[in-house]
């Protein structure tokens, strides 16, 4: 640290710039880690890819706003504590989805048929689009059948891979509730899957 007299105005600018750069970097990193996850999360909740895209970008913009105004408080010099960023981002996304449904300004387009490129086994990760194969569709629909809270918890736990504590943070519930909910949710989902399977078989018989 230089003695006060030796600081020049340019120095201050540099410091501010540096901090700003770090913030930019931070949001960039957060995006890299969470973009796909948030998209998936929102998509499974809303069944609309367009909505998912909109809400996902909205999520990160809000996250940026938070970071922009935040001063570095943490000891390790991050704008969000290491274990904070995940739940934080999910919370934003979740709230956005809630608002979204409340306002009901959406167009639901079931994008089942949209398969731009087949996910071949030849590692085409340049063009990885959602491939809505039949069984993926099935489980997704079954997932839609159970109630919202159940669905959310199943998504967070078994698709996003978050633990009880994180889920509790995101959903603002107690860990105990989360566990009970999870148990019931899985039961409900299992029932929904079986129900759908039975229906499909019945339909086949009718043909």
């Amino acid at each position: 640290m230089k003695p006060f007299e030796n600081y020049k105005i340019e120095d201050t600018e540099d410091i501010l710039k540096k901090e700003f750069e770090e913030k930019r970097e931070a949001i960039g990193r957060i995006y890299d880690i969470y973009a796909i996850r948030i998209f998936r999360f929102v998509y499974l909740k809303t069944s609309s890819r367009e909505t998912a895209e909109d809400l996902t970008s909205e999520t990160f913009l809000r996250c940026w706003k938070y970071i922009k105004d935040k001063d570095k408080e943490n000891s390790d010099g991050n704008f969000l504590k290491n274990d904070e960023a995940g739940p934080f981002i999910y919370r934003i996304a979740r709230n956005l989805v809630i608002d979204f449904y409340r306002k009901k300004q959406f167009i639901t387009i079931e994008i089942d048929q949209e398969v731009k490129n087949k996910i071949s086994d030849e590692n085409q990760d340049v063009f990885r689009i959602i491939s809505l194969k039949e069984d993926i569709e099935e489980i997704r629909k079954a997932l839609r059948q159970i109630n919202d809270d159940y669905r959310e918890i199943v998504i967070l736990r078994h698709i996003e891979g978050l633990n009880t504590k994180e889920i509790a943070e995101i959903t603002k519930k107690s860990e105990g509730s989360v566990r009970i909910l999870l148990h019931r949710a899985m039961k409900a989902l299992a029932e929904a899957i079986e129900e759908r399977e039975n229906m499909r078989e019945n339909n086949k018989e009718l043909e």
Partner: protein, 425 residues
């Protein structure tokens, strides 16, 4: 439906991903929000699409390269074509190292590879290997300079790399279960590798002597890689044919190929006690004692020394010099014998392979050949460790006259071993 089963089903949903283009666009959008003065953020309702504001498109190539390598290359290729024009890319096709367009050519190849699906990679790689050989031929016609030496080395290394890469990709395709693709790729590699082995030998033979000597080792390695790729391709072809996928090749044709391969290998075992050993023996009487015209002077070879079409590669020279360096101080015959043993072993393997072909057991035959090739490689690798003979004390006045210049096969290693011999005394 147990919970576990449900979990398994849920797993499939993990594959849901957003559109890659959108992903990148959005990232840029978010970042550009940050780049605006103070990062103005205006609250937007869900209705107002975020894209209504048109920020500057900041293209973050570095991050793109890190996270989405292939897409980055795809973008790069677009930029290339747009900025240089298709004509340039085509013009670069005939360029060789040293010319300014060469980097364009290579960059184009890398982009191509990046976006080629796995099933086609083998073919593309072997094609590019061929290009390296073309370039090598062109370069060798130019006057000899020190730069040229570097470029020649570089080209040979790159060729080696590509051939090995092609071989590996072939293995991947083969194990991926797509039999037809594997057969296609294997055929290409098979024909090309045979062609390349000849071309490589011919081209390197035409190199100016000074360069030839320096790159002989690399050339040997490159020829080996080519032969191995050839072997791999044959194995794949036979395998797939037995699985019912290789109907384009008749049984006779297949057997014929295997026979040719066995013959080639046999020729490579045959040690050359021709001019090389003569040179050595004239310089060093010590050798003659052990030699007795014994073929084991040059027990290991570097490449097919005598190909069916009469091409003699010059890689055998360094090897024989090597071996002579090793054998020289040894009074006892034990290494020579050991070496002779491996020759016998290999000859036996050749016989067994031929038998197998006779019984129409092509796969077994090929496997033996592959094994034998590996053996040879191992022997050679052992040789590459400068051999400091233990028995040196007993040998006096041996290898005293160093005539590295005369020995056409001068190769660093042989010099080293002779040095060791000398100092060991």
């Amino acid at each position: 439906m147990t919970e576990k089963e449900v979990m398994v089903k849920l797993n499939s949903l993990k594959s849901i991903k957003p559109d890659n283009d959108w992903l990148i666009k959005t990232k840029n959008m978010v970042l550009s929000e940050t780049g605006l003065a103070g990062g103005e953020f205006t609250e937007k309702t869900e209705k107002e699409l975020v894209f209504s504001k048109k920020p500057a498109f900041i293209f973050d190539f570095r991050t793109l390269l890190r996270s989405h390598r292939k897409l980055a290359y795809a973008f790069a290729s677009c930029v290339f074509v747009l900025s240089l024009g298709a004509a340039t890319i085509n013009a670069s096709n005939s360029s060789i190292p040293g010319e300014s367009l060469y980097s364009v050519k290579i960059a184009g190849e890398n982009v191509m590879l990046a976006v080629t699906p796995e099933g086609e990679k083998a073919k593309v790689e072997i094609e590019y290997a061929g290009k390296r050989l073309e370039e090598l031929a062109k370069i060798s016609e130019k006057p000899s300079t020190s730069e040229q030496h570097q470029k020649v080395e570089q080209l040979i290394s790159n060729y080696d790399e590509k051939v090995n890469s092609a071989k590996n990709h072939l293995a991947k395709i083969n194990s991926s279960g797509n039999g037809k693709k594997a057969v296609k790729a294997a055929r290409v590699i098979n024909t090309q590798s045979e062609k390349y082995a000849k071309d490589l030998a011919k081209t390197t033979d035409n190199l100016p002597v000074s360069i030839k000597e320096k790159v002989s080792e690399k050339v040997a390695k490159a020829i080996d890689s080519t032969e191995k790729a050839n072997t791999s391709s044959l194995l794949v072809l036979i395998e797939q044919k037995e699985a019912g996928n290789g109907d384009e090749i008749s049984d006779e044709e297949m057997a014929d190929k295997v026979n040719k391969k066995i013959d080639k290998f046999e020729n490579s075992i045959k040690t050359t006690n021709n001019s090389d050993s003569a040179t050595i023996s004239s310089e060093d009487p010590g050798i003659l004692e052990n030699a007795n015209g014994d073929q084991s002077i040059n027990p290991t070879y570097t490449g097919s020394t005598e190909k069916k079409d009469g091409e003699v590669s010059n890689e055998e020279n360094p090897q024989s010099a090597d071996v002579s360096g090793e054998n020289k101080p040894l009074p006892s015959n034990s290494p020579t014998e050991a070496v002779k043993d491996t020759v016998d072993v290999k000859k036996e393997m050749v016989e067994r392979a031929r038998e197998n072909v006779g019984n129409n057991q092509l796969l077994d035959a090929m496997k033996i050949v592959a094994e034998a090739e590996n053996m040879q490689e191992e022997e050679k690798n052992k040789q590459e460790i400068p051999f400091v003979p233990v028995f040196i004390d007993e040998v006096e006045g041996n290898a005293s006259t160093e005539k590295p210049a005369e020995n056409t096969a001068t190769n660093n290693r042989s010099d080293v071993s002779r040095e060791d011999v000398k100092t060991g005394q």
